[in-house]
């Protein structure tokens, strides 16, 4: 019982880090997604990069959870990673390996892929909030 009551009184650093990365993944993703759908000027490559890195870290933080909610969070996070990696690959292939360049069709597919990741991140945050509220703290 000691450890349980202690958890109530003290702010749990692990939970803060966990929540921070999940939320940051969502906000960065959202920032990248925002703007005209097919306008390359509205979507910053660094923002995509940051979103991908933060999303990867958030995934690793969920490793080894044995609870049902932990498993769903891990799944959502893996989906987001996959979508963002796909988006980054499309970007890299379009600009480096072909001479298509960043035209509006390529941009649209990159942004729609990141939109999928956004949805997955949104699901993660929702689950996190539901879980937190369920604890009545």
């Amino acid at each position: 019982m000691d450890s349980l009551t202690e958890g109530h009184e003290r702010m749990n650093l692990e939970k803060v880090v966990f929540g921070f990365f999940i939320l940051l993944a969502l906000t960065l993703n959202f920032g990248f997604f925002l703007g005209d759908f097919d306008n390359p000027d509205h979507h910053n490559v660094y923002e995509l990069y940051a979103a991908l890195v933060v999303s990867l870290i958030a995934t690793v933080l969920k490793f080894g959870e044995r609870t049902q909610i932990g498993a769903v969070l891990l799944a959502a996070s893996l989906v987001a990673d996959l979508q963002l990696i796909a988006a980054a690959l499309v970007w890299g292939i379009a600009t480096q390996m072909t001479d298509v360049g960043l035209n509006s069709a390529v941009m649209a597919s990159i942004v729609s892929l990141s939109g999928g990741a956004l949805l997955a991140n949104l699901a993660s945050v929702t689950i996190l909030i539901v879980e937190t509220v369920g604890m009545h703290r």
Binding site: V60, F63, G64, G92, T95, Q96
Partner: protein, 580 residues
């Protein structure tokens, strides 16, 4: 039963992932900083125009640097600022990689992790066994012999043993099939379940640990969790034996009792003993010389359980004996002949009456192998013609004991292993051998001489044969269609029915009743189980007769009929033509 197979499984993956969290995050952070640096720091092309690396090239460079592969392929020579950043990121990335690899290695070496991995592997191996297997609890001398014999017969074995060294020895053993082994307490139900106690292919449980109490617990667990499973257990004392029997342990082997019984039988009815020896590929109590233990006065140097059993059996027989023990054992009353001492000194043996005319032998049965050899050597110096019996507890001493030129070696682990194997392979043979003791010894001697003349002096093949569709379809067909078949018919040579094969039916079991040594004209009934004893060469002809309709018809009638659809049709035509 099904749900019992679903034991809690210890998962390895969450364990690995949890341990990998910090190093993986370190890696991701190190990569992201390094890549970002290369993208942001301005460089220039060979012609001096400003050029920046994009993410793809930065990640490519970071990847081969971090893994210390270090291609020299760089699209453009680095500027000073880029070189500075490359130096920095090289150290950061390589250190991050080493941390990650280090924690993986640390995890693999972690004893908890290894335990979980071996447990899971053991369970998987046992679950996937598709052939019948025997669960051997305890891999000491007895267990090792059992596993050897079981695998040599083509069955599978699963081993649990508490001592880690024992399971390593199993790995060094050259066995015919792979034996899954787990190091753990065999008396724990979890371990027994993991070892396949409720597995549909589990054929028997053999409880042969050194500890009587553990064997008892294994027998109880097995009988409660899987009542249909035969349990054969080793017991060291009469109380444990009675306790095991009380809840239905199928067969209990007490090495000391078995030896004492066999020893007394060898004195009382030597021919029965010779029959035993002839029929067992390896008798439990090997006579290492050609002599049989003679009747007369015995000196027993065995203060423990062996002495107790021998004392009881010999006294029932009315044999004169003296016990040599350092102190009076609790099971012996003070007025019985007894000499204080160890037996290793000539003085003690003289006091025990080794020089007396009626003394015929010495039994060295302490639980110390060296003491036993010492007793024998001392006794031999005093009277070399005596019958020498020694107990050998440790199997690794067998070469010394064989070299000691004894008349009989009592090896408890061997006795137990052979008893259990016989119970597993031909459970009818022990029944027959028990029954034959009631016959007159001289009659048994005649039988033995007759059988050996026909089947040879080598160990015969002893097999059980049930007259049903599976083992003997030709016989079953004849019996069920109302034909009469006798014991003698089965033993006719299918190559020439005027000759009988070198084989004998020892016993017939019919609806729980046993018929010993049935005469040749005994009629057979469907469902009978025969205990056949035959020379090695006669086994195949018998199998031919009982399985093949044509061979069987020839043996019964002498008629050699063509078979196959066409020939049968022709034969029918010929018959109708002949009659019409």
């Amino acid at each position: 039963m099904e749900e019992l197979l679903q034991l809690p499984r210890h998962s390895v993956i969450p364990m690995v992932l949890r341990r990998m969290r910090p190093p993986l995050i370190t890696l991701i952070v190190a990569y992201s900083i390094s890549v970002l640096g290369f993208v942001l720091i301005p460089g220039e092309t060979a012609s001096g125009e400003p050029h920046r690396m994009d993410f793809l090239h930065a990640f490519y460079f970071a990847s081969y640097t971090a893994t210390t592969i270090g291609f020299g392929e760089i699209p453009n020579a680095f500027t000073e600022a880029q070189r500075l950043w490359a130096t920095f990121s090289l150290y950061v990335l390589v250190i991050a990689w080493f941390t990650a690899i280090g924690s993986i290695i640390g995890l693999i070496r972690d004893p908890v992790f290894q335990r979980v991995v071996t447990w899971n592997r053991f369970r998987r191996q046992v679950r996937k066994l598709a052939e019948p297997f025997h669960l051997v609890c305890g891999y000491g001398d007895t267990g090792a012999q059992l596993v050897q014999e079981v695998t040599a017969l083509g069955a599978r074995a699963v081993v649990i043993d508490q001592v880690e060294g024992h399971t390593y020895e199993l790995g060094m053993e050259d066995l015919r099939s792979y034996v899954p082994a787990f190091c753990g307490d065999a008396s724990l139900a979890d371990n027994l379940l993991a070892a396949g106690l409720t597995h549909p292919r589990c054929a028997s449980v053999l409880a042969v640990t050194d500890d009587d109490h553990a064997n008892l617990q294994i027998a109880i667990t097995a009988k409660l969790l899987n009542p249909r499973l035969p349990v054969i257990a080793r017991a060291g004392s009469g109380e444990v034996q009675a306790n095991m029997a009380s809840f239905g342990t199928d067969h209990i082997v007490n090495a000391f009792d078995t030896f004492a019984g066999g020893f007394v039988m060898a004195i009382q009815s030597p021919y029965v003993h010779r029959l035993y020896e002839w029929m067992s590929p390896r008798p439990e109590i090997p006579l290492t010389s050609d002599r049989l233990p003679p009747p007369g006065r015995w000196i027993i140097c065995a203060p423990g359980r062996l002495g107790k059993m021998l004392h009881r059996r010999l006294r029932e027989m009315g044999t004169d004996m003296v016990l040599v023990a350092e102190e009076l054992p609790p099971w012996m009353s003070a007025d019985q002949p007894q000499v204080e001492g160890k037996g290793t000194e000539a003085e003690t043996l003289r006091r025990a009456g080794i020089d007396l005319e009626e003394t015929v032998g010495v039994i060295a049965g302490t639980d110390d192998d060296v003491d036993n050899l010492s007793i024998i050597i001392t006794a031999r110096q005093l009277r070399p013609e005596l019958f020498m019996v020694a107990r050998q507890s440790d199997r690794s001493n067998r070469y010394i004991f064989e070299a000691a030129d004894l008349d009989m070696i009592m090896e408890p682990s061997g006795i137990i292993a052979l008893r259990m194997m016989r119970q597993l392979t031909t459970p009818m043979l022990p029944q027959f051998l028990r029954g034959i003791r009631d016959y007159d010894d001289d009659y048994v001697g005649e039988l033995l001489a007759n059988w050996q003349a026909r089947m040879g002096r080598d160990t015969p093949r002893v097999r059980a044969l049930t007259l049903g569709w599976r083992d003997a379809p030709a016989v079953a067909d004849a019996l069920l269609t109302g034909h009469s078949v006798t014991v003698g018919d089965l033993l006719l040579d299918p190559a020439n029915r005027r000759e009988s094969l070198a084989a004998e039916v020892l016993m017939i079991e019919r609806e729980g009743e046993q018929m010993f040594l049935p005469p040749p004209d005994t009629p057979l009934a469907p469902g009978d189980t025969l205990l056949l004893c035959s020379s090695a060469g006669a086994l195949r002809p018998i199998a031919w007769t009982v399985n093949n309709m044509d061979a069987f018809r020839y043996v019964m009638t002498g008629e050699q009929r063509p078979d196959g659809w066409l020939w049968r049709w022709l034969a029918r035509r010929r018959e109708t033509a002949g009659s019409g």
